[in-house]
Symmetry: C2
Subunit: 944 residues, 2 copies
């Protein structure tokens, strides 16, 4: 936002107005030179882009009439100009700094560099977002050999003055000039050690404190610091305060492009072109006696949300002492007793600030000789729990509206709030015990403790015996699902945030740490090792899916209950009032449906029928069905599966009574149900070799030969079904079209179950969904076959069941031909996982394990497109589909049932393009309810 | 095209005018009833939709004043109405038939069913496209016991009359009423046998002919036929000629939906809703003595294109005798001597017809007692060679324009014309010897003979020894390529028309029979077996890639030379005048470039650099490069590859001197260069088992252990690179971004080669192409890195090389974001193979082997989308890309380099959306030149 000079108008009103217009037209009649420096009274809280968070806060407080030391801010634009022009100040900036300093002097009644009444200032960086890696604060700027004498004269406190001076030289030397801080520390330590020995301390290295140093000690330290400075830099510590200021400003500007800051921005996706502002603020001193002090406080408890001041306070100390932990600060409550007047004055200001900002504030203040100064205010960071409580309380207190409350909660906080978590003390204790093992990808939030098991069958068995287990695998595969469901949590060595393990875990609401490459899983030996330590089957492990940490041993977990989270329920209730998008859930089993309803789901948007096929007792039938050579051979096995599937559907339709339940017909490539090719190949090769030797040795090998024949048969069957790219192979409706008998069986099972429920007075609402349609003719083919079957069942049973017929849109061609599809579908559900894979030509598993992470690091892509929907590519297809589909069929419903349907940014997009619903994992339903409401209310900027 | 009744206007002019308006408004004042029946004089050649090909031909000839027996046609609309309404004639149709018959009677001067002067007619089906499976001709309709006597009286030829009658009963009984034809044949054979015995023939069963039968014999046959008819149908042969006609019309209508006709249409993609017309034509008799006869003839030689009548003629015979082959017909030239007047009259008519239709005609005629009648005319089918010569000759003769000549050649005829083919006699001889083995998919046209080899290395070796080899594989893989290039032809047991083998073969112009599942290839034993016969390595086989046939032994091949095909060159020269689309070629080696230029290519649109990596001597270096753990470890191998690649590029840029050469940087997943996983797994398993036994037997196994270690290392390397869906994995620019050193080496090689050529006074035009871009940031990244490298090389060499930088558009996201890509690309080349795979979510190999064929059979899709571009899906993305890309960058060039770029329908689409060029295999360049011209000239309807 360029600040153009037009007419002199430094008044606060003009500035506020300009900012409200979205453009800062603060002007300067004298010249055409841009305004690079603003006095605090010239800014306001909405000017964070230009003044940074800190500068905007100072300005807002100043204009709110709070006691803020006079200060000014050099804009982020000056920083950007500086970076872009070979580290030169923009023309006119320095003059404006000098001018602003004069005005600050007048306000403070002191003069920068004055030998009688010197003004000291602090210089701080302050970007739009609070950001580590940039220049720290330099205090006491303006001190030199001359002004120090004036400070001594004014305060009558020589020790204070020397202490301030040595702090300046240290900070300036280290932060501004880049001298290794340890060198200053060493000199100070040396002085303390000498003093400690003189004081006869037992351990002078450790026990001696800064405060033990005498004025003479400090004089000595100042002298040594100056010597160090000169030795390091070849010049004297600058005795010209304006030179100090010049160098400090340059240091702040330079730190913006420093490695640490750049790295941080890369990690946190903050653009490089924001720049940082520089805040120059009149020094106030909390260390001028017992009527002085300093503190930091939140207006409410950032951890619980309780409506009470929360913070720490130190008497006769400077801010850095609080941070450095040299002295143990007191709780802010104690201030009430120790400095009652100051406390009440501060509490009043805190209340005023909260009312002013209509948000919980994080404040810094200093008391100088009984006078309170506010140094900083910003929106306070808080836990999920606190955020929710504060929002609800503030509505009740009339501070904010329900709408604002809903807008303020980060939807990801909801996930955090509902996930089981480790007891903090327990986690700390485990770490101290040395039980921290490794960190992986925090693939599904929550924490769990249990006995390690290394195969799904054992997991299942032990679970039935009432044992809590953690399933540990190199990576998981579809036939591990029964074991995953039987576990309290999942840990894998391999695979990303959307690997099979991660997706299933999130779907089931189980904690999962994935891709924990530090551990080495040996499934055959039933153990894993990490850094020389071994965890065997039955040993306890604890995993934190929220942070990705893995511990040995047990840690106590706390399990929040959705029903008891009344504040969250309140917020979600308000969210429901605002949102347009319906929130459905994905769920394959009645237990999922029950959970989904409890979380507020308005339907099941994806019931996968194939997970049921993987269950242990069914898999043999499924395999025989697959290996059948013809429809006729296949039928007996389908006949066996029919009652089982009918039972599945009866259960879920019963649980979803009265709500729509979208059942997707069989989707995955059939070879997924068969034993892995590699395993069979190994077995066959091994057996052949064994038989060769046995033959030579004249040993009877008839058993082996029998086994070989069986394995070879299976190997050939699996081989004949192997595909180069199964993701793009014989699956989805391609199965239903080439083997209609399978899908017919499924439709029969659905409608027989629905008819049964109707007879029992229930209200089943099945919706049949055909996967992987690319050509409308596929849909037409399936619809005709399946509707005939459905009608047949209903006729046989003499029952009419209301139902819908729809399709998934998960390959680009389906999206591109939605106008055709609209003629044969009543609803379309975007399968955003597969649509992303095909639209981007990127296999999820392969790319997440491979180049995708590198792409994100290199900023080739902003996010993992399997987590956050790619609007420009995948989104464009979706938007096209909605538009073209509705043009032909106005009543066509659009939903989405991929991973993205539970991700707030993606939900916002789905709202924008006019979808009817999203369908996410049951545990994500509260998140989606909130995100959908926020989408309806419009985007709000969030602090990083 | 519905024929609406409005006003009576049966004049020829009105009909012609109506048809020219595109709507037949032939009308009937009497009522609102549609006109279902047209006299021949009411139609014309453009009414094929309504009258069928035959009816339109009869009408056109009638109106051209040719001697056509009076006739009328019942429209295809009547047929459709009949099929759609439970096999009922539409209202008023029969009355119109009776009315038309009356007018025909007047024109013929005879009366249908008249006891004195009866009119006999033929009834024939006639759809828009000539189509087997529909009702054959019924002749002599109108004969019954009464009218037959009149025929005897009129002709004085009792035998002729009885013969005609028995033919009617036989044809009517079989064709109209569905009596098994063999039953009629048996009765006739019995009569012949009796007559033969009476004549004392040695073998009365075989030697006796129809013509040996006496009048009495025929009377007897008629009686027995009537008896058979009654026994079969329970009613007498209809004595009412109008009933005969009614039933015959119904039979024609019914045959349209008969199984054979429906199957034929399915196979040939003819819509079901065309319907067939019924032609009722006054009978003329070529069997009324030596002044009568019948014949069929083409106006030019359909095999060579020579401008001379070509056909056959029989004196004193009916048309069916020519077809039945009972008597050997004479060449049409002989007619000049035997019936000079008739011959000249016919030749005159033939010339007139050709001039009238401006096309080579296929004519049927009959001479009845010295009078010539034309019975049928249609565009004559012809060979590729003939088509080209006729088109060129007709332009020279002023019959057609160059434009028409270009429009008339089926582009696929060009492929046929240029492919090597088997000598017809040789093929026939092989078949007679019993050397025909099997048929597979005709995957790449042409014929080849050679010794069977079963692995690429032997192919390579034997080829170097000067042996002609045919590579026989279960299926081919990328590292077979050197062996494929060394072969004369390729035969695979497995894989479809776009399998690896097929694609490489078409690219190399090698004949290929793919997916020949009848043969069983045993690569280990170096042989294949088929129907109990074995072909071992070194045995001769002959494959015909145009037909898909496979023979044992040698067959002589004929190899057309493009340079000698002067007529084709003429046509292509004309085509070049009309087309806008440039035609480039894909080619990896200098030899491809030379070939491409010879065929008229205007550039190389795709030079793949990876094929070069597969070459035997380079592969070990490539493997080491791939297995390197870091960029630093990789560099030495890249340094080894640099001069080799520079040599590759020098060669192709030199060959393409002055023409653009698009070089695509490395594209395939790296594991393609490594040994197959399955092979390694088998080896490792085997070795482990062997060592186990050797250990037990105390045998020294150090060699095995060493081998195991090496294989295991490679296995792990390959395993770590394995991908679930390599098509969507780490390939294309993803390689170049994660391993920029590889692409840098390639760019360096390109520019070093170009600089060298410049120094030698050549004009290299390299264009660097980045594959698999999905995000513009990928392109930006690569462009920056690679342009820096290119500039460095040019600076080092002190040479400026003109070049372009572009990308492939082969995944949907690239097409959807072409506006962004346009900012960083100077050209975009559609990779339609991959774009089809991703847009349709269909792996080419998997789907072609699997469900795709079934989809085509089920009419789920009209064509294989990997052969004919899917306009609605893939095409939509391409159109979007061109539009959006050009909006941002007007000068952005668009090309295509997938399989589709050599397929005429797809080329037409690429012309329509405004692409600049297509790039196909060199052998397809002539096809593409022609197809591009036809696209520019607009679509022409072609006969099926």
């Amino acid at each position: 936002m360029p600040v153009k000079t037009k007419a002199k108008s430094n008044s606060r009103k003009a500035a506020v107005k300009a900012s409200k217009n979205g453009k800062s037209k603060i002007s300067n009649q004298k010249s055409k030179i841009k305004k690079w420096v603003l006095l605090s009274k010239e800014g306001n809280k909405d000017m964070r882009d230009l003044l940074g968070g800190k500068g905007a806060g100072l300005a807002e407080m100043t204009n709110a009439g709070l006691p803020v030391p006079p200060s000014f801010t050099i804009t982020t634009e000056a920083c950007n100009w500086y970076s872009a022009h070979g580290n030169q100040f923009p023309k006119g900036m320095w003059d404006q700094v000098v001018e602003a300093m004069k005005k600050t002097e007048r306000a403070a009644g002191k003069k920068f560099g004055d030998a009688k009444n010197p003004l000291l200032v602090s210089v701080r960086s302050g970007a739009k977002f609070s950001m580590p890696g940039m220049m720290d604060t330099v205090l006491n700027l303006g001190l030199d050999d001359v002004t120090m004498q004036a400070v001594i004269a004014q305060t009558g406190n020589e020790r204070f003055a020397y202490d301030a001076y040595r702090r300046l030289i240290q900070m300036f030397g280290r932060i501004v000039m880049g001298i290794d801080g340890k060198k200053f520390d060493a000199l100070l330590d040396e002085a303390k050690k000498q003093r400690g020995m003189q004081l006869g301390k037992a351990n002078p290295e450790k026990d001696t404190k800064d405060t033990d140093l005498t004025t003479d000690d400090l004089k000595e330290v100042v002298a040594k610091y100056k010597e160090l400075y000169k030795n390091e830099l070849g010049e004297d510590f600058p005795q010209d305060p304006h030179k100090q200021l010049d160098l400090a400003i340059q240091a702040v500007f330079g730190s913006w492009m420093g490695k640490r800051a750049v790295d941080y921005r890369r990690l946190n996706k903050i653009p490089d072109n924001l720049g940082t502002a520089v805040n120059v603020c009149t020094m106030v001193f909390g260390n001028m006696g017992d009527d002085s002090g300093t503190g930091v406080a939140f207006t409410r408890d950032p951890s619980t949300g309780e409506d009470d001041l929360y913070g720490e306070f130190l008497i006769n100390a400077q801010g850095e002492d609080v941070v450095a932990g040299i002295r143990t600060p007191m709780k802010i409550a104690e201030m009430r007793e120790r400095m009652p007047e100051m406390y009440h004055q501060f509490r009043e200001i805190a209340r005023k600030m909260e009312k002013h900002y209509r948000e919980m504030q994080d404040l810094e203040f200093t008391v100088e000789k009984g006078k309170l100064y506010m140094l900083q205010t910003r929106t306070g960071k808080r836990t999920a729990r606190s955020a929710v409580k504060i929002a609800v309380d503030m509505v009740e207190q009339g501070l904010i509206t329900k709408k604002e409350a809903v807008q303020r909660i980060d939807p990801m906080h909801v996930v955090q709030l509902l996930a089981p978590r480790f007891d903090d003390a327990g986690k700390k204790a485990a770490t101290e015990r040395g039980d921290y093992l490794a960190s992986g990808i925090n693939a599904s939030p929550g924490a769990a403790t249990g006995m390690a098991v290394f195969d799904p069958d054992t997991a299942d068995e032990w679970n039935k015996q009432g044992k809590a287990v953690i399933l540990v695998r190199y990576e998981t595969a579809p036939d591990d699902v029964h074991g995953m469901y039987a576990s309290k949590g999942i840990l894998t060595q391999h695979g990303g945030a959307t690997s099979h393990a991660a997706v299933v875990a999130r779907g089931a609401g189980l904690p999962c740490v994935a891709g924990c490459e530090e551990i080495h899983v040996n499934e055959a030996a039933k153990k894993f090792s990490v850094n020389g330590r071994e965890i065997a089957q039955g040993d306890y492990v604890s995993i934190d899916g929220t942070t990705g940490q893995v511990f040995a041993g047990k840690i106590q977990t706390i399990n929040p209950e959705f029903e008891q989270e009344t504040d969250l329920q309140t917020i979600l209730g308000w969210a429901d009032e605002f949102r347009r998008l319906q929130v459905w859930a994905n769920g394959d089993y009645p237990r999922d449906a029950v959970r989904a309803r409890a979380f507020g789901a308005q339907g099941i948007g994806l019931c996968r029928t194939e997970h049921m096929f993987f269950e242990t007792e069914r898999l043999p039938i499924v395999r025989q069905m697959i290996l059948a050579k013809s429809a006729a051979e296949r039928q007996p096995f389908l006949d066996q599966l029919l009652p089982i599937q009918r039972g599945d559907f009866y259960g879920i339709l019963e649980a979803m009574d009265g709500l729509p339940t979208v059942i997707r017909l069989i989707d995955p490539p059939l070879h997924e149900f068969l034993p892995p090719f590699e395993e069979l190949l190994t077995d066959v090769t091994k057996l052949k070799e064994q038989i060769r030797y046995m033959e030579r040795e004249n040993v009877d090998f008839s058993t082996q030969k029998q086994e070989l024949a069986e394995k070879e048969q299976m190997l050939h069957a699996v081989e004949s079904m192997r595909e180069a790219n199964p993701m793009l192979g014989l699956r989805g409706c391609r199965l239903g079209i080439t083997m209609p008998e399978i899908t017919k069986m499924q439709v029969r099972a659905i409608f027989e179950a629905a008819c049964q429920l109707k007879k029992e007075g229930k209200d089943p609402r099945p919706e049949v969904m055909i996967p992987l349609v690319g050509f409308v003719t596929e849909l037409k083919n399936q619809r005709e076959i399946l509707e005939a079957e459905a009608k047949q069942v209903m006729a046989d049973q003499g029952i009419e069941v209301e139902y819908k017929f729809g399709t998934m849109i998960e390959i680009p061609r389906a999206a591109l031909t939605a106008d055709e599809i609209a003629e044969y579908a009543e609803f379309c559900s975007f399968g955003t996982n597969d649509l992303t894979q095909t639209a981007l030509g990127a296999s999820r598993d392969d790319s997440e394990r491979g180049y995708l992470q590198k792409y994100i690091e290199m900023k080739i892509i902003p996010d993992n497109p399997f987590q956050v929907l790619d609007r420009k590519g995948v989104g464009q297809l979706m938007e096209l589909a909605v538009k073209n589909g509705r043009r032909v069929n106005q009543n066509l419903d659009f939903g989405a049932c991929g991973e993205h349907a539970g991700e707030p940014q993606s939900i916002a997009f789905m709202h924008e393009i006019g979808q009817n619903y999203v369908s996410c994992s049951p545990f994500r339903v509260p998140v989606a309810r909130l995100a959908a409401a926020q989408a309806a209310l419009g985007q709000v900027t969030k602090d990083k």
